[in-house]
Subunit: 146 residues, 2 copies
DNA sequence: AGGAAGACCGAGTAATTTAGTCAACTATGC
DNA sequence: GCATAGTTGACTAAATTACTCGGTCTTCCT
């Protein structure tokens, strides 16, 4: 899981979109104006989100974007992974194979740790929808028995 | 919360140290050998961890590092924040003030989201100790019935 | 028909960050 | 007093990030 500003901008833009989708499509120019981002940059982000099926587009005058699904059913995790793509964990596992992993000392005990950490973040972000962000309704764990 | 390879290396090195701290101090050369990292780079990492009080050092022949506290009492969160330092959340709040935040549209509704996300990661990493990693004892939510 | 709004696309670049090196210094034990 | 080993800080190369640019294709309106 990756947390760059890119992912943050995408969420900002999507939240904006979710908040202004009365019925008509919303143009990137509008979002750019409100969120203080460049149209060109937004294009990049929305292209990816369209490919992932998070938004649908309409060309021509009066065109723009709208959410493919209701705000309640679109999670932050989906938005972030749509624009941030890769998600390599440790340097072992996929690519280098044995390098660093499975070695004399602490081997890749750390491998499991990062796997689990990634899962933890993923789980949280998947539990929050655009509607939640829009309503300021962020879940705070009920404090699991101390 | 930041998750760079630097932080991962630091955890690898600390885990190695925790696993080889019989009684004597462990030299960076040993760790470098086992974990396949350069001594020069490890120096950087340990310097920071020493300042944070996670390890204590001994100079001269037979010298090296050892944990300042038992492995059970040193958390991954401490190690990671020791070497990765900064931890800026959104671009609002601290630095730019009102830029991007508190604007017409979705304002900084996203602000709370990232705050909470950071806390989520922090909490998890703070719940894992070096000893846990060493023993492969990573908490996985009790597998909800399944 | 034709012009303007606006999505779409790929390549390209500037700046930041990261990872890692180097050289020189200081303390300690034998 | 020499070898071991930590300490410091500046420096650099590579990668990544964030972002721009030029141009195309579609659709609507007159």
């Amino acid at each position: 899981m990756k947390l760059s500003t890119k992912g943050r901008y995408a969420v900002m833009a999507m939240t904006d979109l979710a908040g202004h989708a009365d019925r008509r499509a919303v143009s990137l120019a509008e979002i750019a104006e409100r969120q203080q981002l460049s149209v060109a940059y937004l294009e990049q982000l929305f292209a990816r989100m369209r490919r992932r099926g998070l938004v649908v587009s309409a060309r021509g005058p009066g065109g723009g974007y709208r959410l493919a699904r209701p705000a309640e059913e679109t999670t932050i995790a989906e938005v972030v992974t749509a624009v941030d793509e890769p998600l390599r964990a440790t340097r072992c596992g996929g690519k280098d194979g044995a390098i660093g992993c499975m070695r004399g000392g602490a081997r890749c005990l750390t491998h499991d740790l990062w796997e689990e950490t990634g899962r933890q973040i993923q789980d949280y972000l998947a539990s929050v929808s655009l509607a939640d962000v829009l309503s300021g309704h962020l879940r705070r764990e009920p404090a699991v028995a101390a």
